[in-house]
Point group: C2
Chain length 557, copies 2
């Protein structure tokens, strides 16, 4: 991903003679988001190529999001030649007199785990290998800085003969001790529950966790960002647990009535804990983290999640796993009230369960982190891949990420490979992007890239007249929540589609929505299709409303 | 300018009860560019309000551009409450475990001259005053960090009684000595020339320099970024001086045949010096810089440009200024060749002089830094305001900057005030934005903001099938120069204009171009109009072609 720029043209040109594939983006922030989406679908690092200064700084917010949410990115920055750097030449894209051409690399250091400067052909190969390894091990961004005159230096290919070691081995003794402790707790539990959380997805462990839980069958809840880990028609899946913003009964079952909580891949952020209202007694809590296990307060370090879960799964003796539970478990999502059911217009409480029914197995769903992600908690997910960026929470992320994800799916289809978290190429899965109309404005130009690359994508726009997630926090009527009113009927035509208006459906009522969602073009989309759903400006998903209240309470604390 | 975000809503709400005006943008990078454009037209700082993390990092490339090009920006960043920061709460928009909520403020420190953290109501006022003063004095960005719980703290208004001191006084003795030296050189020169450069515009000194030169009348050239300082129909204006990329005769006249070169407001970047090919003997060179004068190698420090030029102008004795010169001065831009004149299609050599004739006094022109800025060097400028960002050279800057500039013009009209560099509100001046179709893709959503704010803007798109400025540097046929092909006929309709297609004109021939440029709607535009001009993909302005060659030669040096 990336954009051509004067210093990267030389390097870019070599891509043509490799089996790598260059995908241009419309701007560098979008490129960073797209590389992130690519990595989340395919599992390998997303690679972004930018020029120094203007390019890399435009991308930095996207890279920061990948850092915050454990996504593997290799950011290649091409710079002026070494001599120009040495002389601190006042070339374009530099700051002030006698400029430091590497100042930007320093600026971005907090949003990566490793970097290398390719200043010497004798050390370049080792530098590149080192950062790629760090990228995989920490599942976070790395940075490679290439002076333009280095692009033509030949290096030895011999290092390619030896595969890179891309994982850290768990410490066997600690890992076994942790497995024994957890197994003991499982065997002796009476009312256990499991929480499946964000890091499972970010570390690509969904198939492993699913297989483990298919054996374990303990009542399982997902925190906000663990949505989609479990195929939700499984009888042991019991919905979203998000502290006090859970369905009635959920918080009590998890926090009070259980005697054991196994929390896999926790990400204890405000969004993911109901504004920190999730409180589980540490004495009954097992946290399975990225690099350690915290067992009822006892720490096992050097224990890595994938290796640990594999050993735990292999050690599980089904005959000793408790089969019954006296937990009073809540019913799954209640139906909308009668008055809402009679309303001909599309309400939030009608919308999201209906969207859930539109999804089918193998779909890849990208959702913006605003209203949509709150609403989709009330949709029952089949076996889908669901991507949102709810911790870094950068509005506009999801559109370019969808573009990257659709490219990744195409690559998987072409190579007949399996992707991250068991995602499949080809087959009958669709790529669907769900967004508020406000969020889409930030990064809309990547729709043009989707059309240029002839990708098949369904874009669902929830048009509720502004930034609802902000409107919901304070002063809902204030004019600053309003945004420019675009006419999405013309979007695809503008971005270069042949018959854009004909592929764009705008609906206001439940009947209209039903008619569109069952169209054959959306069953098997060819090219980009747009479904715009109008909802009332003051109608929020119930969780968002509750979250807005909590945010007002906690903002100073 | 800016976007609402959870932590800034509280502060934003107070704007409603002031005479400040909130203008929402489509994303934060665009907001930064727009604030920059606003400042360049109005002269006061542009103010941008973003949320911490996602918002401020998205804006950082725009702020860096303002730093590189001496534009006054106040970036207000709203953050989590002080208690949450103290506890390093893992709230959304933070990085990693136990996150530092101020890490972003550290990231952006190289692109500002001052900052303050509003942590204490007793020091907040002094902090704000200090950074505003630094913003003016250095003509560069500053940063104000507001924890959300501080937004409601009352502070004393008494500091407002005393106007801020916003300039630095020159050191009188040094200034007088420098004036004496320069006057002596003027009086004794035989073949003097003047170069009017970038910092004149960035420091708002155009009227002062014009008045000085109207008295001096020495042959005057502009480096690339000094374009528009002089009304070009003045007989003493002799065109662009850009080292070896000047019209035949210009480099010789300036570098060899002159005996004195007065260079006002120099910015010695690659773009501005013909790729560093401009070489003037220091023994005949006077550099009038922002904070010092370098007189034939002798340094006068603590001499500030505005104060110095004022004293110099006042001290000038016209009777002692040489009136004649034996310099062989080149003719102004040559006409296109006969074969080009007969070509019915629009060539680069035809286009730019014609666009120059379309401009009229008091127009405000924003140009993208790519092909357009190279081409416009061959347009004769009437008394216009011309803005481009040619040193930071961030592609996509000019569209949101135009939006900011149009808002500034509206403010000037409403307040009947004069802006920066003598720019007028109201009157018959138009706001015109000129861009390549490639550059426009990076920031296109701000067209929606123009329509929402009902601004009158002419958008001229030069559609030459990709990133020409990159194409011109290496491998012109490479696919990575190609971009998504948009259909601009639908752009205004998409972004919410009532009758967008009817306001959009697409031309391919000289005859069609002529017909559109003389339309009454473009004489006095109401709302946004689009003129798309198609040119050949391999036809570059001659200066761009020469620059591409030079870039290839110097890239490793």
């Amino acid at each position: 991903m990336g954009l051509p720029g004067d210093t990267n043209l030389e390097l870019l040109h070599y891509i043509g003679s490799t089996d790598m594939h260059w995908v241009g983006n419309s701007n560098e922030l979008n490129a960073a988001y797209a590389a992130d989406g690519y990595s989340r679908i395919k599992g390998c690092p997303g690679v972004i190529l930018t020029t120094m200064g203007v390019g890399e700084l435009s991308a930095i917010n996207g890279i920061a999001g990948s850092f915050a949410e454990n996504v593997k990115i290799i950011h290649v920055v091409t710079a002026t030649g070494r001599a120009a750097q040495e002389k601190r030449v006042m070339i374009h894209h530099t700051l002030g007199d006698s400029p430091d051409h590497r100042i930007y690399a320093k600026i971005s250091s907090p949003v990566r785990v490793a970097h290398c400067y390719l200043d010497d052909e004798n050390t370049a190969v080792a530098g590149i290998d080192r950062v790629i390894r760090e990228c995989y091990i920490h599942s976070r961004p790395v940075y490679i800085y290439v002076p333009v005159d280095m692009a033509h230096k030949p290096v030895a290919a011999s290092a390619l003969d030896k595969p890179l070691l891309l994982t850290r081995p768990s410490e066997t003794t600690a890992e076994q001790a942790a497995v024994d402790a957890v197994l003991g707790a499982i065997h002796s539990s009476k009312n256990p529950v499991v929480l499946v959380d964000s890091l499972i997805l970010q570390l690509g462990l969904k198939p492993l966790v699913r297989s483990f839980l298919n054996n374990l069958k303990f009542p399982t809840f997902c925190p906000f960002m663990g949505k989609s880990v479990i195929e939700e028609r499984k009888p042991y899946f019991r919905g979203t647990y998000n502290g006090k913003f859970s369905y009635p009964g959920v918080q009590k079952a998890v926090e009070e009535d259980s005697d054991l909580v196994i929390h896999i891949g926790p990400l204890p952020t405000d969004m993911n804990t109901g504004g920190f209202s999730a409180k589980i007694d540490p004495k009954k809590l097992i946290l399975l983290q990225e690099t350690k296990v915290i067992f009822k307060g006892e720490l096992f370090v050097g224990v890595y999640l994938e290796s640990f879960l594999t050993r735990l799964s292999n050690s599980l003796d089904i005959s000793r796993v408790p089969k019954t539970s006296s937990l009073a478990l809540p019913a799954l999502p209640p139906l909308p009230s009668n008055s809402e059911a009679k309303d001909p217009f599309i309400t939030q409480s009608h919308l999201w369960p209906r969207i859930g029914k539109f999804f089918r197995a193998h779909d890849i769903i990208f959702s913006d982190g605003g209203t949509c992600h709150f609403g989709l908690q009330d949709a029952e997910f089949p076996d889908i891949t669901y991507i949102m960026q709810n911790h870094w929470a950068s509005i506009g992320y999801a559109l370019p990420a969808t573009f990257g994800g659709a490219i990744a799916k195409r690559d998987l289809t072409n190579s007949k490979a399996e992707g991250w978290n068991g995602v499949k190429g080809g087959g009958d899965g669709r790529v669907i992007f769900i967004t508020g109309e406000g969020a889409m404005q930030l990064t809309v130009q990547e729709v043009g890239s989707m059309i240029r690359e002839q990708l098949d994508v369904i874009i669902i726009i929830i048009n509720n007249g502004g930034y609802s997630i902000e409107r919901c926090v304070v002063h809902p009527d204030a004019a600053y929540h309003d945004i420019a009113t675009w006419n999405h009927k013309h979007m695809l035509d503008f971005f270069g589609a042949e018959d854009g208006a004909a592929r764009t459906y705008q609906v206001r009522t439940k009947v209209e929505l039903e008619a569109v969602l069952t169209r054959p073009e959306l069953e098997d989309p060819q090219g980009v299709h747009v479904l715009e759903i109008f909802t009332d400006k003051m109608d929020f998903p119930w969780r968002l409303k509750a979250f807005g209240e909590a945010y007002r309470e906690m903002k100073g604390t």
